[in-house]
Structures are given as C-alpha cells and as structure tokens.
C-alpha cells in the first residue's frame, strides 16, 4: 500500500468506481450480462437481445438413433422411426416428446465436418475452426457474449453447465471467457465468500486501493483485467439465486424429466430469463464405441424429454422466438456397427438440429444416402453451420476480429449461411 494515501482518497476512489459502473456499458467488467444492477443497465437490457442455448451431446450422439434413421438397412440398428408433428419427418422412437415439437425444429442431415476425433471435434464444433498452433479461436459462446451480451450487469454472458469445450474466449480475451457450472449444478466454490460482509468489504477496499495504485503506476492491462474479474465475482454474490433451481425443481420435474440434464436445461431457461446471452448445457457419454444401442437408450430419453420441456417452457414465457437452441456434439457415429455392438466416430455424414430464434421448423435440410454413409444432398460444413447460427442470432458471420494483426471472420472464409433454415 502507498503509505501516503489517506482514507478519503480511498473512499472517493471507490465512489468513482461505483459511478463508472453505473454509467458504463462496456469494458468495465468481464463478460457479465444478466440481472442488471443499475437503471441504466436495466434499460439497456430491455433492448431486444437474442440468446443461444447449446445442447452439447458430448462424445457424439448417433444420427441413426436420433434424427436420421435407416430402418431395415444393415446400418439401421434396432430402433424404429416414429412420425412427428411435422409432415414427412420421422425421428427415432426414443424421442416421442421431441416428435411432438418437430414443427419447430430444423434438422440438418448432411453435416460433413473435418475433425474426426474428440479433442479436435470439440474445438471445431465450438469455434467453427480447426485447431491451429498460431491462433486461439474463440468459442461460439464468447462470440455471442460479445455481440449479444450486455456489458456491466451481474450475471455472466457466457455460462457453461457440465460441458467439455475448452477453447474459451480465445483471442477475444478474458472479458468473454466462460463461467463454468459443475455437472451437478453447483456454483464453483470460489463464487461464495465465507467472510463476513463488513470484513469482506474492508478487504475489497484495501485490495482495490492497492490495485489502483499499481495500475496507475504501471498502466497494466493485467491489473485491469484482475480488477474486472474481482468486480464480477463480487457482483455475482447478489445474483446467486439465479443459479438455484432446487426450490423450483418439483414444479418443473415433469416438464423437463427427472434427470440431471433436465435440471441443467431448467437452469438454462432461468439464465435466459435473467438475461444471459449464451448457455451451453452438456450431457456426457455419447461415445458409444461399445453397446451403442443400450447407451442411446439410456441417454436419449432424458435428453429429449429435457429438450422438449425447454422448448415448451421458452414458448410459454415468450422467449422461444429470441432464443436459438443448437443441438450438436463434436462428431456423428459410423453407419457400420462394429463387433462391440458399437458405432465409432464419423464426420462424413451426420446430423445436427436448430430451433427457435427465427429458425424455420418442420424441415430437414440435406440428406444422407440410403445407408447413411455419404451426404446425398446439400452438404453443410462446420463453417456453414456456424455462419447460419450467427445469422439467426443477428450477428454478421463475416464480422472480423483480430488475432494480433490477422483479421479473422466469425465463421471461416467461404462459409455459407443456409438461408432456407431461416425465416
């Protein structure tokens, strides 16, 4: 501490910071968007903002056991298709609840992507780019946080619940870094202060004072970011209830299904309602190299129940039209069934789905061939997929950010928006 400082300096500095927070709309705190704590920010939050919920099927769900069935073919497996409420669209019998919502879902049956293993695939399907040694590409969540998030409010703009993506904010910087929630829904331990409020405030004042002195003397960007992180964490204290679903769970258990994934989806809805721009909700264990059919029978029903419940809940609250739901994993699964009763990794032809936020539901885009081996019509690359998502969210996919001096568009060069998916 600067031994020449006096208490009044310290207090006035804190007051100044308060004022800055009350009026600034950018750059003061990192990636903090929802539940505004000032009237100015509340007004900002009322502007029409779009949200995105990424339902992440970690390990790679099988297209044959979800949205692109091949009944009666050697690649088909034992499940049977059922009709949906969208004329001509059938889904797997494991998805009866989603079958009743397919008029609001667009399925892409012609994904052809370029990373066949998990680490690369997870990176690819979170960023739109293949891993590169010299550029750290930001995840979609960081991009949505930047372009649809609200600076300066109490909740993060990019929240991850039980997921695997680890690319983070990349070259967008820590301001857009994700805020992670554990698999069982709890806030990280660091988010809760165990110190008495008055004592904590004193400590905070002292730390702020020291930081300010340091920042003034060194002009350090790191010090600023450190300050921002601390401020964000402190403000989170006020909004911790947004992450609590225990009291509501009994009411929503039937709608979302009694599963951990269902709880995570309810949390996602709550966070959208609180203004969070991007929430990723993960379900693990789709990497079914063995016993693919039993695994999908265990995994898909709770997933589809929760997904259908989420869509219903968003619709009832008037949030569906401004919330994009993206259903994907990092890879698809092989048409061939191996001698472990499993399906391996496959990216030549697989399926993803989109719903809400202006997506034209009740359609399939692209097609696979008779055995699901190759894309027959309208291949969609990872770049096309991300470009379409960004456009649905009102973000120009050609917008460039800079990795050092290198301009990098949000979706890779040559990516095409699949316009027919958008209304």
């Amino acid at each position: 501490m600067n031994s020449n400082s006096i208490r009044s300096d310290h207090l006035s500095r804190r007051a100044l910071m308060k004022g800055a927070l009350a009026t600034a709309s950018g750059g003061v705190v990192m990636n903090w968007g929802g539940l505004t704590n000032s009237s100015a920010l509340a007004a900002e939050a009322k502007k029409e903002r779009k949200h995105c919920i990424l339902l992440w099927m970690n390990g790679g769900a099988s297209q044959f056991e979800t949205f692109d069935m091949k009944p009666g073919r050697p690649t088909g497996g034992p499940f049977r298709p059922i009709d949906s409420n969208a004329p001509g669209i059938q889904v797997c019998e494991l998805m009866p609840k989603m079958a009743r919502q397919m008029d609001k879902v667009a399925v892409i049956r012609s994904m052809r992507t370029s990373e066949v293993d998990h680490p690369g695939g997870i990176y690819l399907m979170h960023t739109g780019y293949r891993p590169a040694a010299n550029v750290r590409f930001p995840e979609i969540g960081a991009i949505v946080a930047k372009y649809q998030g609200l600076d300066g409010a109490d909740l993060p703009n990019f929240v991850k619940v039980s997921t695997q993506g680890d690319a983070g904010a990349g070259f967008l910087g820590p301001k857009y870094q994700s805020f992670g929630i554990g698999s069982e829904g709890g806030l990280p331990t660091f988010s809760v202060s165990n110190t008495e409020p008055a004592r904590e405030l004193k400590r905070h004042d002292l730390r702020s004072f020291v930081e300010d002195q340091f920042a003034a003397e060194t002009k350090s960007e790191v010090a600023k970011m450190h300050r921002e992180a601390y401020e964000a964490a402190r403000r989170l204290q006020k909004t911790r209830d947004a992450f609590k679903i225990d009291a509501e769970w009994a009411k929503y258990k039937d709608l979302y299904g009694d599963s951990e994934f269902g709880k995570r989806c309810l949390l996602a809805r709550k966070l959208v309602e609180s203004g969070v721009a991007f929430i990723e909700v993960g379900q693990s264990s789709y990497d079914s190299h063995a016993d693919n059919f039993q695994w999908h029978r265990g995994l898909v029903p709770p997933m589809e129940h929760a997904w259908a419940g989420l869509m219903t809940d968003l619709k009832e609250r008037g949030l569906f039209d401004k919330t994009l739901i993206v259903w994907t994993g990092e890879i698809g699964r092989t048409p061939q069934i191996n001698n472990r009763a499993g399906r391996d990794h496959y990216v030549r032809c697989w399926s993803t789905a989109l719903a809400g936020c202006g997506i034209k539901g009740g359609q399939t885009y692209g097609a696979s061939d008779v055995d699901g081996v190759e894309v027959k019509d309208n291949p969609v690359t990872e770049g096309d997929f991300f470009a379409t998502i960004y456009k649905a969210l009102g973000i120009d996919p050609t917008t460039e950010n800079f990795a050092g001096v290198r301009p990098v568009p949000l979706a890779p060069f040559t990516s095409k928006v699949v316009e027919s998916l958008l209304s």
């Binding site: 034992p78 698999s183 069982e184 994934f261 379900q283 264990s285 709770p302 191996n338 001698n339």
Partner: protein
C-alpha cells in the same frame, strides 16, 4: 451319456450370416437346434447323429462341417433377444424387440417355403476377391416356414429377457420399461406381473425350478456420467407378488437405488460391472448365477445362495463381459459365454474352470459368443457367435 466337457469335441460350425445371431436353444429333441438373429429370423437345424466327414482348410476359420437348416420360424419383426425351450422339447419360446413373446410348437404345420441366403459374408468376400460390386447371385437355400402358435402381447416395450421354469409350466419375460410378466404356458395367460424401477429395464430374468420364485435383474445404462441409476437384483415371490429378497441390499447394506450420482455408483460398480445381464437358476434351486455383462474388463459370474442372497463364489472370467449363463442339469457345472469368443465351464463346488471351448477371434475386440444352450441329454452344447457362426460341441465324452 454323462456331461463331460473336459473331453468335448467341436462337431459342427453352422453358417448363419447376414445378421448377428443372438440366441440358441435345442427343442423338439436333442439334435434340433434353433438359432435367432437381430433381424427377427429363427432358423432350425436337424443335426445328424454323426457329423459328416470334414477336412478343414487351414486358410479358413471353418474347423468343423456346416450343414444347412431345414426350417424357418417366421413372425418376429425385430431382433430376437432370447430363445428358451420347454424341457419336453415340445415348445420353443422367443422374445423380441418387437415387443412380443412367441410360442412355437415343435410339431407345427408347415406354412410354406422360403429362400434364404445364409452365407452372405462369404459371398461378400468372394465379390471382393473378384473385384465385383455385386454379390454372387447363386441361389441360397430353401426352407420350410412355420408360424408361431401363440403370440403373447402384454409388453409395451422391447422384451429383453426371457426365462422358463424347469418344470416347463411357466415363463417369465421382462421388458425395457421394467415390466415383468410371468405366464402360464398351458393357458398362455399372465399369472403375475409387476413393475421394476421406471427408469430400468429388465436385462435378465429366471424362474426357480418350481416356477414360484423369480430372479430379476434390472439395469439402466447411464443417462450421463453424473446420472447413473442404481441396478436391482431381487428374488420375487410370484404367488404373493411381493419382493422376497433384495440381493443388492444383502451385498451392500447401504445401497440406495435412489442415489444416482457418480460416487454412489462406485459402491456397486465392481459387483455389477455394466449390468448383470445373464441369470440362471440352478436346477436344484439352491443357487443362482448372474453374469457381468456390458463391455467390462473381465466379466465374471457370481454364484449366490437363493435363501440368503449371499455370494457363494465368483467364477469364470470373460474378457470384455459375459453374455449368457446356464447350469448343467445336475447343478454341478455353470456354463458361461462371453465377449471373448469362449465357452467357459466351471465346477460349482470349487469354482475350478474345467473346460474352455472356442478361442478368441475377431481382432482387438473379439466376436462375442452371444448365447449358449445344452441339449436335453447334455451331449450337445451350442453357442452362437456374432460373426454368423453357430458352434456345436459334442460334450458327451
């Protein structure tokens, strides 16, 4: 002829390619063998008393003669999960993912004829060898067709498990919605039914010799790494419809099936592995055998006392998991098959493995043996493998 597995000899290797064979059973005599597959087909062989002369070609995996089946049982529309036969051999019972259980009389009338190609893989290999896209079109075989005498339709979901009492009067079937039904074979009516945990499916079920007690194994593949419902292994009194013994509670007094996080699953994981998917009641009614299935390091068979639920011993060991288990008629041997392409036969008294039939094949992961059956006279032991071959050993010494 005494059961003498130590002196067993491979007698037949029957070709049933095109889809994974899933189950085998002898019915209608000691040499009539039925095998089912994932397409819902059942074909039946009448094995000669003496296998024909055969000279093995070292370039192929065929080490014993093949003969072709003579009839096909038609009706199922999805994978057949289990076949069992009545002890008198007069009826074959099948369960299927098409949600039905079907009963086939051994002396059923011929319904018609059909052509089948059972050597589809051999044809593919030949086409590849010749550099052709199309498979050889030489005719397949012609079989008589039969239809089921009775179709039992009480299940709303995949019928995944099937068992029969050794007095042949009752069968038990369990489905993927955890519904269990005990049927009276004479009347073809349900005599008892109950529901397991709604998340679970009935992965194996067996009846005591008198048909009055049921052993039911419930399992559910995980819903997430942090959402793993607990399994169930229970004896049920069919007459009262009540639970007679919760074997999981005996093994793990603190076991709570309502806890479904990762940590609680570690309590039972070693005992259950990826599901106790094979069960058998010993003919003397004193023991049950339960096999660890799903892909697991080494699938073992637990022998449990039926009066106390306590573990008597653990026997056998199939790399990657057990797929089926039966007892010999005198209850002295337990016979298991698994994902290591082997039949393992162990003495119940001391757990000693007295014979291993077959040998691992299929690359890094082996072509499982999916099911095993013993002829009523215990001379023939049959096991189906997922590569499309049914192996029959003469185990009569």
């Amino acid at each position: 002829m005494p059961f003498n597995p130590a002196k067993s000899k491979l007698a037949y290797q029957l070709t049933f390619e095109g889809s994974w064979p899933t189950s085998v059973a002898f019915f209608g005599g000691n040499r009539r063998l039925a095998t089912a597959n994932q397409l819902g087909q059942i074909v039946v062989w009448d094995l000669p008393e003496k296998p024909p002369e055969f000279k093995a070609d070292p370039k192929t995996e065929q080490k014993a003669p093949n003969i072709w089946p003579v009839r096909k049982l038609e009706g199922h529309t999805n994978e057949i999960t289990r076949l069992v036969a009545t002890p008198d051999g007069k009826q074959l019972v099948s369960s299927s993912l098409d949600r039905t259980v079907r009963i086939w009389p051994a002396d059923g009338a011929v319904a018609g004829k059909t052509a089948m190609i059972l050597d589809a893989d051999a044809r593919k290999r030949e086409a590849r060898r010749q550099g052709k896209k199309d498979l050889p079109t030489t005719p397949g075989i012609t079989l008589e067709t039969h239809t089921a005498g009775t179709v039992l339709e009480g299940h709303r979901e995949w019928v995944y498990s099937l068992g029969i009492s050794s007095d042949g009067k009752r069968i038990i079937s369990g489905d993927a919605a955890a519904q269990i039904i005990v049927w009276d074979l004479a009347s073809k009516k349900s005599v008892a039914q109950w529901q397991g945990h709604p998340w679970n499916w009935i992965v194996a079920a067996s009846l005591s010799p008198d048909g009055k007690t049921a052993l039911v194994s419930e399992n559910r593949y995980k819903r997430d790494d942090f959402d793993i419902p607990g399994p169930a292994l229970k004896l049920w009194n069919i007459e009262t419809g009540k639970e007679a013994l919760d074997i999981m509670k005996v093994q793990f007094p603190k076991f709570n099936p309502a806890e479904r996080g990762y940590s609680p699953s570690q309590v039972w994981r070693k005992f259950v592995a990826n599901g106790l998917i094979a069960t058998a009641y010993s003919p003397d009614g004193k023991l049950v055998a339960v096999g660890q299935g799903g892909e697991t390091d080494t699938g073992r068979v637990h022998l449990l006392d039926t009066s106390s639920g306590k573990l008597v011993r653990t026997v056998s060991g199939h790399q990657n998991g057990v797929t089926d288990v039966i007892f010999s008629a005198d209850s002295k041997h337990v016979i298991s098959v698994g994902r290591d392409t082997c039949v393992r036969i162990c003495q119940v008294a001391d757990g000693k493995e007295v014979a291993v039939l077959g040998s691992p094949r299929g690359g890094q992961f082996k072509d499982w043996l999916s099911a095993v059956a013993l002829s009523p006279d215990e001379r023939w032991l049959a096991a189906s493998d997922i590569a499309g071959m049914v192996h029959v050993w003469d185990v009569g010494g």
